[in-house]
Amino acid sequence: MVSQVTSLRAAINALKQHQEQLETQLGKSKLERLLFNLEEINLDIENFANQLINASTKESALEQLTETVDSFQYGSIPHILGHLETIEELLENNFSTFPMPATGATISLS
Protein backbone atom coordinates (compact mmCIF):
# COMPACT_ATOMS: atom_id res chain seq x y z
CA MET A 1 0.00 0.00 0.00
CA VAL A 2 1.37 3.36 -0.98
CA SER A 3 0.80 6.14 1.54
CA GLN A 4 0.27 9.61 0.27
CA VAL A 5 2.00 12.27 2.32
CA THR A 6 0.48 15.70 2.36
CA SER A 7 0.63 18.70 4.68
CA LEU A 8 -1.37 21.64 5.91
CA ARG A 9 0.94 23.86 3.84
CA ALA A 10 -0.15 21.98 0.70
CA ALA A 11 -3.79 22.46 1.72
CA ILE A 12 -3.31 26.21 2.19
CA ASN A 13 -1.62 26.44 -1.20
CA ALA A 14 -4.52 24.52 -2.78
CA LEU A 15 -7.03 26.93 -1.20
CA LYS A 16 -5.01 29.85 -2.55
CA GLN A 17 -4.96 28.28 -6.01
CA HIS A 18 -8.76 28.06 -5.98
CA GLN A 19 -9.17 31.47 -4.33
CA GLU A 20 -11.48 32.94 -6.99
CA GLN A 21 -13.83 29.97 -6.93
CA LEU A 22 -13.93 29.91 -3.11
CA GLU A 23 -14.51 33.66 -2.87
CA THR A 24 -17.84 33.25 -4.62
CA GLN A 25 -18.95 30.85 -1.88
CA LEU A 26 -17.33 32.38 1.19
CA GLY A 27 -16.77 35.99 0.27
CA LYS A 28 -13.38 37.71 0.03
CA SER A 29 -13.14 38.78 3.67
CA LYS A 30 -14.10 35.39 5.10
CA LEU A 31 -11.71 33.55 2.79
CA GLU A 32 -8.89 35.88 3.83
CA ARG A 33 -9.69 35.21 7.48
CA LEU A 34 -9.86 31.47 6.84
CA LEU A 35 -6.43 31.53 5.19
CA PHE A 36 -5.00 33.71 7.97
CA ASN A 37 -6.18 31.30 10.66
CA LEU A 38 -4.95 28.23 8.78
CA GLU A 39 -1.58 29.90 8.24
CA GLU A 40 -1.25 30.58 11.98
CA ILE A 41 -2.03 26.92 12.78
CA ASN A 42 0.36 25.70 10.13
CA LEU A 43 3.22 27.89 11.38
CA ASP A 44 2.88 26.38 14.87
CA ILE A 45 2.96 22.86 13.43
CA GLU A 46 5.92 23.65 11.15
CA ASN A 47 7.73 25.24 14.08
CA PHE A 48 7.09 22.13 16.20
CA ALA A 49 8.39 19.86 13.43
CA ASN A 50 11.50 22.00 12.90
CA GLN A 51 12.25 22.05 16.62
CA LEU A 52 11.88 18.28 16.86
CA ILE A 53 14.28 17.79 13.94
CA ASN A 54 16.67 20.31 15.44
CA ALA A 55 16.52 18.66 18.88
CA SER A 56 17.17 15.19 17.50
CA THR A 57 20.57 16.26 16.21
CA LYS A 58 21.70 17.80 19.50
CA GLU A 59 23.71 16.14 22.25
CA SER A 60 21.12 17.16 24.84
CA ALA A 61 18.36 15.75 22.63
CA LEU A 62 16.14 14.39 25.40
CA GLU A 63 16.12 17.66 27.34
CA GLN A 64 15.39 19.69 24.22
CA LEU A 65 12.71 17.28 23.03
CA THR A 66 10.99 17.63 26.41
CA GLU A 67 11.13 21.43 26.20
CA THR A 68 9.79 21.33 22.63
CA VAL A 69 6.89 19.06 23.51
CA ASP A 70 6.03 21.14 26.60
CA SER A 71 6.08 24.34 24.56
CA PHE A 72 3.81 22.79 21.95
CA GLN A 73 1.41 21.35 24.54
CA TYR A 74 1.10 24.44 26.70
CA GLY A 75 1.71 27.24 24.17
CA SER A 76 0.85 26.09 20.66
CA ILE A 77 -2.13 23.82 21.36
CA PRO A 78 -4.21 26.54 23.10
CA HIS A 79 -3.19 28.91 20.29
CA ILE A 80 -4.25 26.39 17.63
CA LEU A 81 -7.54 25.73 19.44
CA GLY A 82 -8.27 29.48 19.42
CA HIS A 83 -7.79 29.61 15.65
CA LEU A 84 -9.87 26.47 15.13
CA GLU A 85 -12.71 28.07 17.09
CA THR A 86 -12.49 31.14 14.84
CA ILE A 87 -12.56 28.93 11.73
CA GLU A 88 -15.54 27.05 13.14
CA GLU A 89 -17.40 30.33 13.72
CA LEU A 90 -16.52 31.52 10.23
CA LEU A 91 -17.85 28.39 8.58
CA GLU A 92 -20.89 27.98 10.84
CA ASN A 93 -22.00 31.53 10.15
CA ASN A 94 -21.61 30.86 6.47
CA PHE A 95 -23.55 27.61 6.36
CA SER A 96 -26.26 28.38 8.93
CA THR A 97 -28.18 30.25 6.23
CA PHE A 98 -27.09 28.26 3.21
CA PRO A 99 -29.29 29.13 0.20
CA MET A 100 -31.13 26.25 -1.44
CA PRO A 101 -30.57 26.68 -5.20
CA ALA A 102 -33.93 25.30 -6.37
CA THR A 103 -36.25 27.48 -4.34
CA GLY A 104 -34.03 30.30 -3.17
CA ALA A 105 -35.18 29.48 0.38
CA THR A 106 -32.67 29.10 3.19
CA ILE A 107 -32.08 26.16 5.47
CA SER A 108 -30.85 26.60 9.01
CA LEU A 109 -28.38 24.04 10.28
CA SER A 110 -28.31 25.26 13.87
Binding site: E39, Y74, G75, P78, H79
Partner: protein, 140 residues
Protein backbone atom coordinates in the same frame (compact mmCIF):
# COMPACT_ATOMS: atom_id res chain seq x y z
CA UNK B 1 -0.44 -11.30 84.13
CA UNK B 2 -1.23 -7.67 84.58
CA UNK B 3 2.06 -6.27 83.17
CA UNK B 4 1.77 -8.48 80.11
CA UNK B 5 -1.74 -7.23 79.38
CA UNK B 6 -0.58 -3.62 79.71
CA UNK B 7 2.24 -4.28 77.33
CA UNK B 8 -0.18 -5.66 74.73
CA UNK B 9 -2.50 -2.69 75.12
CA UNK B 10 0.45 -0.28 74.82
CA UNK B 11 1.68 -2.08 71.75
CA UNK B 12 -1.76 -1.90 70.15
CA UNK B 13 -2.04 1.77 71.01
CA UNK B 14 1.38 2.55 69.61
CA UNK B 15 0.64 0.36 66.61
CA UNK B 16 -2.54 2.34 66.00
CA UNK B 17 -0.59 5.58 66.39
CA UNK B 18 2.02 4.28 63.99
CA UNK B 19 -0.64 3.59 61.35
CA UNK B 20 -2.20 7.01 61.93
CA UNK B 21 1.20 8.65 61.49
CA UNK B 22 1.82 6.62 58.36
CA UNK B 23 -1.53 7.69 56.92
CA UNK B 24 -0.80 11.33 57.80
CA UNK B 25 2.60 11.06 56.08
CA UNK B 26 1.00 9.49 53.00
CA UNK B 27 -1.61 12.27 52.83
CA UNK B 28 1.06 14.93 53.21
CA UNK B 29 3.14 13.26 50.51
CA UNK B 30 0.13 13.14 48.18
CA UNK B 31 -0.58 16.81 48.83
CA UNK B 32 3.06 17.78 48.24
CA UNK B 33 3.13 15.74 45.02
CA UNK B 34 -0.10 17.35 43.80
CA UNK B 35 1.21 20.84 44.57
CA UNK B 36 4.47 19.95 42.81
CA UNK B 37 2.65 18.67 39.70
CA UNK B 38 0.44 21.77 39.60
CA UNK B 39 3.51 24.01 39.98
CA UNK B 40 5.21 22.16 37.12
CA UNK B 41 2.13 22.65 34.96
CA UNK B 42 2.09 26.38 35.73
CA UNK B 43 5.77 26.62 34.80
CA UNK B 44 5.24 24.81 31.50
CA UNK B 45 2.15 26.87 30.72
CA UNK B 46 3.90 30.18 31.45
CA UNK B 47 6.92 29.24 29.32
CA UNK B 48 4.68 28.13 26.45
CA UNK B 49 2.64 31.34 26.58
CA UNK B 50 5.81 33.44 26.73
CA UNK B 51 7.08 31.65 23.62
CA UNK B 52 3.82 32.52 21.85
CA UNK B 53 4.18 36.17 22.95
CA UNK B 54 7.65 36.27 21.34
CA UNK B 55 6.38 34.72 18.09
CA UNK B 56 3.44 37.14 17.83
CA UNK B 57 5.47 40.22 18.79
CA UNK B 58 7.93 39.40 15.99
CA UNK B 59 4.99 39.17 13.56
CA UNK B 60 3.42 42.40 14.79
CA UNK B 61 6.69 44.40 14.77
CA UNK B 62 7.90 42.76 11.52
CA UNK B 63 11.31 42.25 13.07
CA UNK B 64 13.07 39.58 15.15
CA UNK B 65 12.22 39.49 18.86
CA UNK B 66 14.46 37.55 21.26
CA UNK B 67 16.04 35.81 18.26
CA UNK B 68 12.70 34.76 16.71
CA UNK B 69 12.35 35.97 13.10
CA UNK B 70 8.97 37.35 11.96
CA UNK B 71 6.84 34.91 9.98
CA UNK B 72 3.46 35.34 8.33
CA UNK B 73 4.26 38.69 6.74
CA UNK B 74 1.85 38.60 3.77
CA UNK B 75 -0.10 41.62 5.00
CA UNK B 76 1.14 42.71 8.45
CA UNK B 77 -0.81 45.97 8.33
CA UNK B 78 -4.08 44.03 8.02
CA UNK B 79 -3.14 41.29 10.51
CA UNK B 80 -1.69 43.43 13.32
CA UNK B 81 -5.01 43.79 15.23
CA UNK B 82 -5.39 39.98 15.27
CA UNK B 83 -1.89 39.46 16.63
CA UNK B 84 -2.30 42.25 19.16
CA UNK B 85 -5.49 40.65 20.46
CA UNK B 86 -3.71 37.34 20.79
CA UNK B 87 -0.75 38.90 22.62
CA UNK B 88 -3.14 40.55 25.08
CA UNK B 89 -4.82 37.18 25.70
CA UNK B 90 -1.46 35.47 26.32
CA UNK B 91 -0.45 38.20 28.79
CA UNK B 92 -3.80 37.93 30.59
CA UNK B 93 -3.39 34.16 30.84
CA UNK B 94 0.05 34.58 32.44
CA UNK B 95 -1.29 37.25 34.80
CA UNK B 96 -4.11 34.88 35.82
CA UNK B 97 -1.52 32.64 37.48
CA UNK B 98 -1.03 35.42 40.08
CA UNK B 99 2.74 35.11 40.20
CA UNK B 100 4.92 37.79 41.72
CA UNK B 101 7.48 39.46 39.46
CA UNK B 102 10.26 37.46 41.18
CA UNK B 103 8.40 34.15 40.70
CA UNK B 104 7.63 34.89 37.05
CA UNK B 105 11.20 35.94 36.30
CA UNK B 106 12.53 32.78 37.97
CA UNK B 107 10.29 30.58 35.80
CA UNK B 108 11.15 32.47 32.60
CA UNK B 109 14.87 32.53 33.33
CA UNK B 110 14.76 28.76 33.40
CA UNK B 111 14.06 28.77 29.64
CA UNK B 112 15.04 32.27 28.41
CA UNK B 113 18.06 34.50 28.98
CA UNK B 114 17.69 37.79 30.88
CA UNK B 115 18.43 39.61 27.59
CA UNK B 116 15.62 37.76 25.83
CA UNK B 117 13.15 38.57 28.62
CA UNK B 118 14.16 42.25 28.56
CA UNK B 119 13.84 42.27 24.75
CA UNK B 120 10.27 40.98 25.07
CA UNK B 121 9.38 43.65 27.64
CA UNK B 122 10.75 46.32 25.29
CA UNK B 123 8.92 44.77 22.32
CA UNK B 124 5.68 44.78 24.33
CA UNK B 125 6.17 48.50 24.94
CA UNK B 126 6.79 49.14 21.22
CA UNK B 127 3.77 47.07 20.23
CA UNK B 128 1.54 48.99 22.67
CA UNK B 129 2.79 52.24 21.08
CA UNK B 130 2.06 50.99 17.55
CA UNK B 131 -1.43 49.85 18.54
CA UNK B 132 -2.06 53.13 20.36
CA UNK B 133 -2.87 51.42 23.64
CA UNK B 134 -1.49 51.77 27.18
CA UNK B 135 1.74 49.79 27.82
CA UNK B 136 1.08 46.11 28.34
CA UNK B 137 2.73 45.03 31.57
CA UNK B 138 3.67 41.38 31.93
CA UNK B 139 4.70 41.82 35.54
CA UNK B 140 1.79 42.85 37.76
Amino acid sequence: MQPALNATINFELSNDLFIKNCLRAVHRFKLTTTVFILAQKVKKKVKGLFQQIIIHLARLLSEPVAGKPPHHQDNPERDRPNWWQEIKTFVTQIQAENLSEAQLRKILEDAFSVEEIDAVIEALRQASDIMGEPPLNLFQ
